[in-house]
């Protein structure tokens, strides 16, 4: 075993001992790493189906003792709009994965009433299965201190005002997101 280091007090350390010290220090630093307890999620879609994942994951992160933030950008702003119940819809158009009660040609599924029908069916199915509603998930997130942040640029482009959103929403941009994200091990784009 070769001698590789000498401590300030003159103590001589072997390679094996140096490795053990480094490993111990690294493990201690990782245990303390605050980024392991932070999650940062972008919600970019404004349909009923895609309103669920960011809120479910934000609530799960908070339940696991993490600090979680969800940034709502572009169509994702629908999720935190005061009128989210009416705005969040799901459409069978351009979504071949959507389960339909009967096989349906695209020209048919694109008819005006189909979006409303598909939305009603999804809500009914979710309710029957016991999935929390978007309103309930928003409440859980706010009660468990998940930060809900609206993208200021999208608000400007689409003409939203701060009072258009549910209570407790904060406002920020890419800089605010990056500042959060660089300190979070969990970052998701939904």
């Amino acid at each position: 075993m070769s001698i590789v280091a000498r401590s300030s007090s003159g103590l001589v350390l072997t390679e094996q001992e140096v490795r053990a010290i480094v490993r111990e220090e690294l493990e201690a630093a990782l245990r303390r790493d605050p980024a392991a307890r932070r999650a940062c999620i972008i919600a970019s879609k404004g349909t009923l189906d895609f309103a669920y994942p960011p809120l479910i994951l934000g609530a799960a992160a908070a339940a696991a003792g993490m600090e979680a933030a969800v940034f709502f950008t572009f169509y994702g702003l629908n999720i935190i709009h005061r009128d989210f119940r009416r705005r969040l819809k799901v459409s069978p158009v351009a979504n071949p994965a959507m389960p339909m009660p009967v096989p349906m040609a695209d020209t048919f599924s694109g008819l005006p009433l189909m979006k409303g029908l598909a939305t009603t069916m999804m809500r009914a199915k979710f309710r029957k299965k016991g999935v929390a509603t978007i309103a309930e998930l928003l409440d859980v997130c706010r009660q468990s201190d998940v930060r809900l942040i609206a993208c200021a640029l999208t608000m400007e482009v689409f003409g939203y005002r701060e009072r258009d959103f549910v209570d407790g929403v904060e406002f920020g941009g890419a800089g605010a997101f990056m500042s959060e994200a660089r300190r979070s091990h969990v970052t998701l784009f939904i």
Partner: protein, 82 residues
């Protein structure tokens, strides 16, 4: 570990992800370290979610088993995080 040794009972039957861990988290916050809550859940995902949540939050799943139509967990509150 059975119902007689649990300090409280939490019924999460009928709830889906993420509500079981959200509810357990709230219940645990209200408990003393060392106290045990018996949790009943019908969400199949909770079999993976509850132990993972416990490991992340310093709590412990002492035992779990399946009944005919639901899953039962015994979760003990750990020492508060320092």
């Amino acid at each position: 570990m059975d119902a007689r040794t649990a300090d409280r009972v939490l019924d999460c039957r009928g709830l889906l992800c993420p509500m079981p861990v959200v509810r357990i988290g709230r219940e645990i916050e209200d408990m003393e370290p060392g106290e045990v809550v018996k949790v009943m859940a019908t969400d199949r995902g909770s079999i993976a979610d509850v132990p993972a949540w416990a490991a992340d939050t310093g709590n412990e799943v002492l035992d779990w088993h399946e009944e005919t139509d639901h899953v039962v967990f015994y979760v003990r509150r750990g020492a508060p995080a320092s």
